[in-house]
Amino acid sequence: MKKDLISITDYTKEEYLRIMELAAGFEKEPNQDLLKGKVVASLFFEPSTRTRLSFETAISRLGGRIIGFADAGSSSVTKGESLHDTIRMVTNYADLIVMRHPLEGAARYAAEIATVPVINAGDGANQHPTQTLLDMYSILKTQGTLDNLNIFMVGDLKYGRTVHSLLMAMSEFDNPIFNFIAPDELLMPEEYKMHLRERGIRYYEHREFTDIISAADIIYMTRVQKERFADPIEYEKVKNVYILREKMLRHTKPNVRVLHPLPRVNEIHTDVDRSDKAYYFEQALNGVFTREAIIAHTLNLK
């Protein structure tokens, strides 16, 4: 049976750990010719330069060849071809499909049609599992463990798919504590809090972004997006409340690291960039190693 990666929950805890182990190996030696002679389709039905370059770097470092397109405008989609037909065609050409699509569920559907494995590089607001695995690798690298961590999530916890997936993945590990900091309009959805309650995992909700972060091991920042608010006045009220500044980190634990899926707007002040606790740019680099690991795992190359 082919091994797709569509949602973060498609992987077991053992597979998370396997990816972490493989990623560490690729960090030591990024150039390994495991994909030699193989063709990977990189299908970006909506543009995402950051994710696409990360994947294509990973494929190149593994010695694979890339076919595909960087946005739907340069593909047969503009001629009205269905996703179904595009995938039926590409599955004959490639050994692996990496795809990003603006519609939710598109990757799951593509995986049902394709005879080769599919890796979801983002389907609308739904899932972006390779982001979550690189977040986990960043946490493991900076904390030395994925157990017993106090994780603060800040900003848009309602629509932010990265925080939802990270919560699901980290809840598989021992004894995590979650702290959610968000305005009323952007609270963590009930279904995720229920997931934590069912597992007996502690979580706390806060409106204020204050010195409570002194207990944090990880501070995961997200963007508060204007378009999420029905009332622009509400956005104006909260947009500057959830900004992390360097001075706020002074009384935090020495091991704390600030993560962000990027791109940031103003939610992390540039003065944080100088801090040893800022980790978001290294986090992005970890994405290449993690994606090499995911590709190797998916195609049973290691």
Partner: protein, 154 residues
């Protein structure tokens, strides 16, 4: 009036088969489609807009010489949750059944999420039933929950 309905039912009684009672009148034709009754050769009689204390107005279907598997009949549970089945042998009711909401729903329901792939391509919808009361269906594709309030049939 209750007496009248009973009389009517007696008039159109079937010898062997299944009677599906307590279908909300507005969903009669959906039930017929879901069960594929429009594509079979069996004798079928139905009545609709009959008075019902529970439903206001109800419909009833009688299918001769047909028994339904539980999996098959449970497909109508979302649109006819109070439906009752009477299995008829030689004009007598030999068994009564109620419908149960299944653990998976295919087709039948539209995903409420306009950005779901199923609302943009020709795909049969698939849901896992994560809660029966109140009803909550999790889309197999976009993973969003469609609840009772947003429930629309295809």
């Amino acid at each position: 009036m209750e007496e009248n309905i009973k009389k009517k039912l007696k008039v159109s009684a079937i010898k062997n088969g299944t009677v599906i009672d307590h279908i909300p009148a507005r969903n009669l034709f959906k039930v017929i489609t879901i069960l594929g009754l429009d594509r079979i050769e069996n004798q079928i009689t139905f009545g609709t807009n009959l008075e019902s204390e529970k439903l206001g107005s109800k419909a009833i279907i009688k299918v001769s010489d047909k028994c339904f598997e539980d999996d098959e009949i449970n497909k109508i549970a979302l649109i006819a949750p109070h439906a009752k089945l009477n299995i008829i042998r030689d004009y007598a009711v030999t068994e009564k059944k109620v419908v149960e909401i299944p653990s998976h729903v295919e087709g039948i329901v539209r995903c409420f999420n306009p950005k779901c792939i199923t609302n943009n391509e020709q795909i049969t919808t698939r849901f896992a039933v994560v809660s029966k009361a109140p009803l909550a269906l999790k889309c197999h594709y976009c993973e969003k929950i469609t609840d009772q309030e947003h429930l629309h049939m295809l």
